[in-house]
C-alpha cells in the first residue's frame, strides 16, 4: 500500500497507522533504566511495608499538603490586595 492508495480510498489512514512499527531506546539505556526503576520499586515496597509511614504520607497528601498550599495562596492573595489598596490615596 502506498501513500496514494491510503488517501485515494485504498484504506482508512487510522487502520494503516496500526501497522506502524514500534521503536525502542538502545539496549544500554533500557538496562540502566530498568535497574534504576527496580531500585525505586524496592525502596517503595520497603516504605510501604511500614504502615505508620503509609498513614503519615496519606495524611500529608490528603490534608497537610492541600492545607499548606491553600493557606499560602490565601496569604498571598491578602498581601496582593493590601498592596494594591495601599497604592490609592485615602
Amino acid at each position: 500500500m502506498t501513500p496514494e492508495s491510503i488517501n485515494k480510498g485504498g484504506g482508512d489512514p487510522l487502520e494503516t497507522l496500526a501497522s506502524l512499527g514500534t521503536h525502542d531506546v538502545d539496549p544500554w539505556r533500557a538496562e540502566t533504566l530498568r535497574r534504576e526503576a527496580k531500585a525505586r520499586l524496592e525502596r517503595a515496597h520497603r516504605l510501604a511495608s511500614r504502615r505508620w509511614f503509609v498513614a503519615l504520607r496519606r495524611t500529608y497528601r490528603l490534608a497537610l499538603e492541600p492545607a499548606f498550599v491553600y493557606g499560602l495562596a490565601a496569604v498571598h492573595l491578602c498581601w496582593t490586595f493590601q498592596t494594591v489598596l495601599s497604592l490609592w490615596p485615602r
Binding site: 501513500p3 496514494e4 491510503i6 487510522l14 494503516t16 521503536h23 533504566l33 517503595a44 515496597h45 503509609v54
Partner: protein
C-alpha cells in the same frame, strides 16, 4: 497481554515482585517509548519522559489498585508528563509555534537507520502524524496505534467519550489532508 495475566502482574507488582516488573517493562517499554517519541517529536525528550514514567510506576506500585489496567495507566502518566514538560517549555521560552513547527513534517526522533529501513508508506504516515496538532495526535496515537478503548482514552485525556470521538473524527480528516499534501509535494518534485 491478556487482562487476567495483567491483573496477576499488577498483584505481584504491588507486593514488590521484581520479576513482575521486568515482564511489564519488557512488554510495555517499546510501546510507551514509541508513543512518547511520536507525541513529542524528539528522541532525547522521549527518553527522559520514558524514564520518569517507569520511575513513577515503581514508586506508586504499592498504591496501585488491583484492577489497574497497565496500558492506560502508563500512557496516561506518560502523556501527563509530556504535557507538563510542554507547558514548562512553552512558558519558559514562549515558543509554542516553534514547537509545533519543529514537529511539522519532520519526525526528528526517528534514527537514519529506521528511516532507511521504513517503507514509503510508513515514512509518509510518520510525517503526516508528526504534522498533526497535538490534540489530534494524542487521540490518534492512543486509539489507532495503542488500541485503547474510547472510554480509556477519555479518562487518560480528561475528556468525555463524545469529545474523544469528535477529536478522532477531526484527526482522521486532518491526517488524510496531510497525506494528500505530502503526496502533492512528491508529485511536484517528480
Amino acid at each position: 497481554m491478556e487482562e487476567r495475566q495483567e491483573q496477576e502482574l499488577v498483584s505481584r507488582l504491588r507486593q514488590g515482585d521484581g520479576a513482575a516488573f521486568d515482564r511489564i517493562y519488557e512488554a510495555f517499554r517499546p510501546r510507551v517509548f514509541s508513543f512518547l517519541a511520536r507525541l513529542c517529536g524528539r528522541r532525547d525528550l522521549a527518553e527522559d519522559l520514558l524514564q520518569e514514567t517507569w520511575l513513577r510506576l515503581a514508586s506508586q506500585a504499592p498504591e496501585l489498585r488491583e484492577d489497574t489496567r497497565l496500558g492506560p495507566w502508563l500512557f496516561t502518566v506518560a502523556r501527563n508528563l509530556f504535557i507538563s514538560q510542554w507547558r514548562r517549555q512553552r512558558y519558559a521560552l514562549d515558543r509554542q509555534g516553534e514547537l509545533e513547527g519543529q514537529q511539522a513534517l519532520s519526525p526528528g526522533w526517528i534514527s537514519p537507520f529506521d528511516l532507511a529501513a521504513a517503507g514509503e508508506t510508513e515514512r509518509a504516515l510518520e510525517r503526516a502524524l508528526a504534522a498533526l496538532p497535538l490534540s489530534s495526535r494524542e487521540v490518534i496515537l492512543l486509539v489507532a496505534i495503542e488500541h485503547l478503548e474510547i472510554a480509556e482514552v477519555a479518562r487518560a485525556l480528561s475528556l468525555s467519550p463524545e469529545a474523544v470521538r469528535q477529536r478522532l473524527s477531526r484527526a482522521r480528516a486532518q491526517l488524510a489532508e496531510h497525506l494528500a499534501t505530502l503526496e502533492g509535494r512528491k508529485e511536484t518534485r517528480q
